[in-house]
Symmetry: C2
């Protein structure tokens, strides 16, 4: 019952996983995801088709599964941000990644993922999962700082979703403009277009009454009784 020990087997397994992932990604980029049957991937690494599925739950997971690491890093990053930091800034830093890959390679990966419907769907779904964890992290952080969100307050979820939405928008814009500038710049620009309603202009203090008021005037969208 070794919970998640770093045994030799575990390391071997990760190595094989990585090998499959790399080979598959190369094939997907070269021939396209849909045009590359699993058999081709299996053949490329000299395994049976069955074994590939022992390392990855689905075909999409070969590509998207790599995000599990990124997700872990995000949660660590969030936990490491200073407690007093504005939420939007902390969220921005979730997307700081030092990717040692050559710039062109990163763009190629982005292109396959964003332009293959099946992969895009799996990607967005994975991001949704990650958001769940991040929103929970925001809740914990606020609680630790002494001003927890009410249980049914949608704020952490909404802010997280908005941040991730900006991130994906940035990826699209970045790719559409040729991926020449760093992705981080695109993320900066996207996230700079918005700010949380409360702490935006506040002197980084506990929220004031006037702001809570300024928050209200959402013009009650009339459920259209017809």
């Amino acid at each position: 019952m070794t919970p998640s020990q770093d045994t030799l087997r575990a390391r071997t397994r990760r190595a094989v996983q990585r090998e499959i992932g790399d080979a598959a990604l190369a094939l997907f980029i070269e021939r396209g995801f849909d045009a590359t049957p699993i058999d081709a991937v299996a053949a490329a690494v000299g395994m049976s088709t069955r074994s590939v599925f022992r390392y990855f739950a689905t075909k999409e997971d070969i590509v998207i599964g790599k995000l599990d690491l990124a997700a872990d890093r995000m949660l660590e990053t969030l936990a490491a941000r200073p407690p007093g930091e504005p939420v939007w800034v902390s969220l921005r830093h979730l997307f700081d990644v030092d990717d040692p890959r050559p710039q062109g390679s990163t763009a190629a990966i982005h292109r396959v993922v964003l332009e293959t419907p099946a992969l895009l769907a799996a990607y967005l779904q994975k991001l949704q999962e990650i958001q769940e964890a991040v929103a929970l992290g925001l809740r914990e952080r606020a609680a630790a700082a002494g001003r927890p969100y009410p249980a049914d307050d949608p704020t952490p979820r909404a802010l997280t979703a908005a941040a991730f939405g900006c991130f994906v928008a940035a990826q699209h814009s970045w790719l559409a403009s040729g991926a020449s500038t760093p992705l981080a710049d695109a993320v900066d620009r996207a996230m700079a277009t918005l700010a949380p309603a409360t702490e935006a202009q506040a002197p980084a203090q506990t929220q004031t009454q006037t702001q809570a008021q300024a928050q209200a005037p959402a013009p009650a969208p009339a459920p259209a009784p017809s």
Copy 2:
């Protein structure tokens, strides 16, 4: 070559599509999406499996395809909003839907979609498509108002993505809290947590020169070197 005429055949086709959709949705809600093979749907409406796929591209599309109508309505809504209205308010009104269904039924649909991985993925992907169109609509509106976004400005995409992110977050929160209150309230609360960086404090008037200027100063956070 009748482009998209409202011929008898077209109407019949839509009727059949609707019949399949309704029957399938009932089955999906009752037995679960994954536990309901297409054969069961086909049998329920007295057709061959093959014919079901002549009306829907994929199994997920039977559920998600209904959003095409919603997408059209969104674009109409956006076009109908007053040109001077703050963007965030206009975006909020995209999610106003008068759904004549009983409240419990709507919640059931939401539950299947959000809790079935395959459906959630397809749903998010469809929303992504819609966002593309909405962002374009924002661009057109701004251009019509005389202050178009620069070609590579990520603002419309980012704002749209943030709004849709809030919407999905609202759906989750709404469902998690028992779907007792109107969904519109949840959307209000989610979207009230954020505001665009520029027009937030503006006196809700027709745009001034200073606004076009205030649109630029993206504060460019540090790209985190190492």
